[in-house]
């Protein structure tokens, strides 16, 4: 990979991030904007493993919740919140890696994979719900059952342990991290590892026949995705200043999948936009009681699945490209598809 691509990509990400960072707080308050950014990170973690690795995980909420809980527990027990921050990425990543290895080395089919990840999420939900009472504690921290864990120390400015990162600071920190993660994933997809991941989405048998141990690559990609979901969970913990078992709920898991579908599977931008838009919609709908919230979400999903099968971002991108060209002959349509494949939509 040459450094020119890297610089161009980094430049685009920087501009995009600055625009979002400046504009978002005018559309919604900073507090909500932070949450939308966290949702975008969570959607990105699933969008990567599902859209590029072809692995549909029904339990992304498990890694998200695990990240949040790990942060809360570690922050109470350790002195430095940054050690907790690192652990909140590491623990879900290792957990996802092990769970993935179990499934991929066991040659589980896609359907069973979905079921297993779903069940794991359910188990965690049940478990953290049932941890009320003083017997359930890790070090200094009580797990707190359905009430969750409140009052843990949040992140502080490095080198200045007295100054907490919150409000606008947390928003800028979060959106900067999102930009870094996005850039990292783009580069990952350009790297041999990323190409192998896409290759096994396209044809697992052939990838294996080329000498790649697909079980290893899938487990590694799963771990990466789990770690990113964990990072989103950690940021959520810092945003909400409380973690509850609701993070592990089936509703949460389903919501992430809907964000990705609506935004556009097979792109990195799509899931982030899907998450931010639907998160915003939910926020707006939350201020009224005329229509049921999940009803609207359901209708939206059906509309997208029926009419915008590729999702928002790929559809819009296609319309924009079509608008720039004259009505297409068969040949130019083929060229466009080719271009899309080469640039590997992002």
């Amino acid at each position: 990979m040459n450094s020119r691509i890297l610089m161009m990509e980094a430049g685009r990400v920087l501009v995009g991030t600055l625009v979002c960072a400046l504009v978002l707080p005018f559309i919604v308050d900073v507090h909500t904007a932070t949450l939308l950014t966290i949702y975008a990170m969570l959607a990105l973690s699933l969008g990567f493993i599902w859209g590029f690795g072809g692995i549909l995980c029904f339990g992304q909420a498990a890694f998200y919740g695990l990240g949040a809980y790990t942060y809360a527990l570690a922050a109470i027990n350790f002195n430095g919140a940054w050690a907790a921050f690192a652990l909140a990425i590491l623990v879900p990543a290792v957990f996802a890696g092990l769970l993935g290895a179990l499934m991929f080395y066991g040659r589980l089919s896609d359907v069973y994979l979905a079921v297993v990840t779903l069940v794991v999420t359910l188990i965690l939900f049940k478990f953290f719900n049932s941890t009320a009472g003083p017997t359930y504690r890790i070090g200094e921290a009580r797990l707190g059952g359905f009430n969750g864990i409140p009052g843990f120390p949040t992140l502080t400015v490095p080198g200045d342990p007295g100054t907490y990162i919150y409000g606008a600071g947390l928003f800028y920190f979060t959106i900067a991290l999102l930009a870094l993660v996005y850039l990292g994933l783009r580069l990952t997809l350009l790297s041999p590892f990323g190409r192998i991941i896409v290759s096994l989405r396209e044809n697992e048998e052939r990838t294996e026949l080329l000498g790649y141990d697909v079980r290893f690559y899938k487990s590694a990609a799963f771990a990466l995705s789990g770690g990113l979901a964990g990072l989103a969970g950690c940021l959520f913990a810092n945003w909400a200043e409380i973690v509850t078992p609701g993070l592990f709920s089936l509703g949460q898991s389903a919501e992430i999948i809907i964000w990705v579908i609506v935004g556009g599977l097979g792109t990195l931008i799509g899931p982030m936009i899907g998450a931010a838009l639907l998160g915003y919609l939910k926020f707006v709908l939350g201020h009224q009681s005329a229509v049921d919230n999940s009803f609207i979400m359901g209708v939206l999903l059906i509309v997208v699945v029926l009419f915008l099968q590729e999702g928002l971002v790929p559809t819009v991108a296609r319309f924009m490209k079509a608008g720039l060209r004259r009505p297409s002959s068969k040949k130019s349509r083929r060229q466009r598809r080719r271009k899309r494949a080469v640039s590997n939509a992002g």
Partner: protein, 237 residues
Amino acid sequence: MPGEVVLETNGLTVRFGGVTAVDRVDFALRERELRCLIGPNGAGKSTFFKCLTGMLQPSDGQVYLRGEPVSGLGPHRLARLGVGIKTQVPSVMNGLSVHENVWLAARRRSGDANAGTLQALEAVGIADLRRELVGQLSHGQRQLVELAIVLAAKPWLILLDEPAAGLSGEEVERMVGILRGLVEHATLIVVEHDMHFIRQIAETVTVFHQGRVIAQAPVEDVLEDPLVRDVYLGRSL
């Protein structure tokens, strides 16, 4: 000229429930040999190939590559040992470009992956297609892409399952030329139904029928064999 035995199977057997697809096959192949495998539909040719690439584990018997038993190894291990296969149904990455497809194979070899990719594409004669999306190509072109993928990995044992199927007359000629070039530095087994094609490339032919090897001889002798004619009843040889 063919050298020592590099591939051997002993009593190789694959059963699918009640069906015995490969039945106690003893097979031996010498270095730089080009062997053709023929047999009617369902004879077990593709299943035999799958045992040699680790895509299937035999129910019984053993496969030896250069004297080493390899049963139990997965496809990626056998690929690393230098076995390459072009499967019956083209197995390619449809959503990727021709270049990306071949690059993934070429980078497993030491050296410049892009150079290796181009070399394989040129060997097969599809360098001009390298930017095309594989899914958009014709069946014949996809066959050639898959062949380029196989070649880019530089295997010493090459298995080709019906490489001429779906090719145009011109493409078949090209395929014949490619195969003749390959024997210079690789050992090949080619499954084909097209007798005209086989006559152009093969020295020795092995005939499969109901999972068993029923004949093995130079190509003209095999076509004279009454048993083989009987198996192929209704087909013109």
